[in-house]
Homo-oligomer: 204 residues x 2
C-alpha cells in the first residue's frame, strides 16, 4: 500500500474535501496535512502548480483536484470500472470544476466588478450547470451520477451543492440550488447521510 | 462497437482536436461533425453545457473535454490502465485545461483589459505551467508524460504547445514556450511526427 499525504487548506470543504471523504469511506489511511491560510504564501511555490490540493504518493507530489479524485476513487471503490460509466462520473466532476473555476476567478477582484460578474454567473452558467446536472441525475434514476452507486461524482457534486447552499459567496443567493435544481439538494442531503460521512464529521 | 459522433468547431485545433487525432490513431471510425462559427449561436442551447466538444455515443451526448479525452483514450489504447500512471496522464491534461480556461476567459473582454490580463497570465501562471509540465516530462525520461508511451496527455499537451507557438493569442508571445520550456517544443515536434498523425494531416 502506498503512503498517502493530502495537503489542503484547513477547513471542511473546497476542492480537497472529496478526497478526505473518499479515503475515509474507503478506510484508506492517509496523512491529512491541513494548511492554515497564513502559512500558504510561504508554501505556495513548493506546490506543483502553486495550488492545493496536492496528494503525495510515497513522497511524490501530484496536483489537479479531479485527477486526485479519480485516483483516490479507484483506491476506494468509488470510481466506475466501465468506461462509459467512468465518463459520466468524470463529466459531472469536470463540470463542477469548470464552474467552480469560473466563480473562483471573481474572488480577488474589486467589489463592483465582483457584483456584476457574480450576478451574471449566477443567472447564466451557474443556473445552466445546476439544471444540467439535475437533468443528468434524473435521467439516471435520481440517486447517483454514474454506475447506479456512490462514486466520486456524487461526493464532488454534493460537496459543491453543500457549499453553494452555505451562502459563502456574496451576490450568489444561498437558495439558488433549491430553486433551480431541487433534485441536487435532495441528492446532497442523501449523500451526507452516508454512514461513513456521518461518522467522519463526528470527528472533524 | 458504439457509434461515435464528435461535434466540434471546424478547425484543426482547440479542445476537440485531441479526440480527432486519438480516434484516427486508434483507427476507430467516428462522425466528425464540424460546426462553422456562424452556426454556433443556433446550436449552443442544444449542447449539455452550451459548449463544445460534445461526443455522442450511440446517440447520447456527453460533454467536458478531458472526460471525452479519457474515454476515447481508453478506446484507442492511449490511456494508462495503471492507476498511478493514469493519474500522471490526467494531471497533465487537467493542468492544460486549467490554464487554457484562464486564457479563454480573456477572449471577449475589452482590449486594454485583455492586454493587462494576458501579459500577467503569460508572465505568471502560463510560464509556471509550462515550466512544471517540462519538469514532469524531464523527470519521466523526456519523451512521454505517462506510462513511458504515447497517451492522451501527449496529444493534449503537444496540441496546446502547437497552438501557443502558432501565436494566435494577442499579448502572448509565440516564442514563449521555446524560451521557458524548450523540452515541450521538442516533445511537440516529436509527437507531430507520429505516422498516424502525419497521415491524418495529409487528409485534413
Amino acid at each position: 500500500m502506498s503512503k498517502l499525504k493530502l495537503t489542503y487548506f484547513d477547513f471542511n470543504g473546497g476542492r480537497g474535501e472529496s478526497v478526505r471523504l473518499a479515503l475515509s469511506i474507503g478506510g484508506v489511511p492517509f496523512e491529512d496535512r491541513r494548511v492554515v491560510f497564513k502559512d500558504w504564501p510561504a508554501l505556495k511555490a513548493s506546490m506543483p502548480f502553486a495550488a492545493l490540493p496536492v496528494l503525495e504518493i510515497d513522497g511524490k507530489q501530484v496536483a489537479q483536484s479531479n485527477s486526485i479524485n479519480r485516483y483516490v476513487g479507484k483506491l476506494c471503490d468509488l470510481y466506475p470500472s466501465d468506461p462509459y460509466q467512468a465518463l459520466l462520473c468524470d463529466e459531472a466532476m469536470d463540470a463542477v470544476e469548470e464552474i467552480v473555476a469560473k466563480i473562483s476567478a471573481t474572488m480577488f477582484i474589486d467589489e463592483d466588478a465582483k457584483k456584476v460578474q457574480r450576478e451574471a454567473i449566477a443567472a447564466g452558467p451557474l443556473t445552466l450547470y445546476l439544471a444540467r446536472l439535475q437533468a443528468y441525475l434524473k435521467e439516471r434514476g435520481g440517486e447517483f451520477f454514474a454506475a447506479e452507486r456512490l462514486t466520486m461524482a456524487d461526493l464532488v457534486v454534493s460537496l459543491w451543492v453543500r457549499s453553494l447552499r452555505g451562502g459563502h459567496l456574496d451576490y450568489i443567493a444561498a437558495d439558488l440550488t433549491d430553486k433551480v435544481a431541487p433534485l441536487l439538494v435532495q441528492h446532497q442531503v442523501r449523500v451526507a447521510q452516508h454512514p461513513a460521512i456521518v461518522a467522519y464529521y463526528q470527528d472533524h
